[in-house]
């Protein structure tokens, strides 16, 4: 299953996708499941923003419901 198909099965949070806004748990879930990287394999102060652009249509679609 590619990242976009995987995203369809998930509850995507609103923007922005920063670590501060998402919290550690949701940040790690998105980073791993949507193919960014595995945060737990990095130091805990490396938490760059995740570019949500490939999944924007899914976020908007869920907002409209």
């Amino acid at each position: 299953m590619n990242a976009f198909e995987k995203a369809k099965t998930m509850t995507l949070p609103p923007l922005p996708w920063t670590h501060e806004a998402l919290g550690e748990e949701k940040y790690c879930e998105l980073a791993v499941e949507l193919g960014y990287f595995h945060p737990k394999a990095e130091r805990d102060d490396y938490r760059p923003s995740l570019d949500p652009t490939p999944f924007l249509s899914l976020i908007k679609a869920k907002k409209e419901k």
């Binding site: 920063t18 193919g35 960014y36 595995h38 990095e42 760059p48 995740l50 949500p52 652009t53």
Partner: protein, 206 residues
């Protein structure tokens, strides 16, 4: 039989200037940095991006592979070459040394403190005692010479400023400080896409 076409194309050169951004977002697998139509990082996707500002002489990108050649006693030339390490850096000298958001990133062990009181407020950077290195993503963005709304991007996903921070203060010249962002691998990204990317908008140029 006909000859082969030569490849002189004025649209295949890079002519600056370009802008360097730090703390940009990391793209998903097979993704790329999201740009606004003016060639800056799109602000919703990159809410923490900071512009490095002016540089004294532009920015240099370097990708340097280290290759081991294997030889044999029987042959005069190597029979196998293997890529053993890769270095990717973005470096130059920045002029806006009086910007504390930048300083915090440039001094690997620095901590920025802000007091917003209107009469006693200040910004400061303290340093000394940290042993960890904070990492962040950087992107160099320039305009494609072939199109006004076309841009190219060099992004390093995970870097730190190897050059530290130093500047000279003199009445004869503006202060400037060297920077060298050293690209590190994000080991959990796919092989071949662990350090960064270099891409341009639009159709293939060749």
């Amino acid at each position: 039989m006909p000859g082969t076409a030569k490849n002189y194309s004025a649209n295949q050169i890079i002519l600056g200037p370009a802008d360097l951004w730090i703390n940009v977002a990391v793209p998903s697998a097979s993704g790329r940095l999201t740009l606004h139509t003016d060639g800056t990082p799109e602000s919703v996707a990159n809410p923490n991006a900071v512009h490095l500002g002016m540089t004294s002489g532009g920015v240099t990108f370097e990708y340097k592979p280290e290759i081991s050649d294997f030889t044999s006693d029987e042959l005069t030339a190597p029979h196998l070459s293997v890529l053993t390490s890769e270095m990717a850096t973005v470096k130059g000298e920045f002029l806006q040394v009086f910007n504390w958001s930048l300083l915090e990133r440039m001094t690997v062990g620095g901590t920025r403190n802000v007091n917003t009181n209107t009469s006693t407020g200040y910004e400061e950077l303290t340093f000394g005692g940290k042993s960890t290195v904070s990492n962040f993503s950087v992107a160099l963005i320039g305009q494609d010479i072939a199109g006004t709304n076309q841009f190219w991007v060099i992004q390093l996903y995970k870097t730190y400023n190897k050059a530290g921070f130093n500047f000279t203060v003199t009445r004869k010249d503006q202060s400037k400080a060297s920077f060298e962002f050293n690209g590190l691998a994000i080991t959990t990204r796919a092989s071949g896409d662990q350090i960064g990317n270099f891409w341009h908008m639009g159709a293939a140029n060749d």
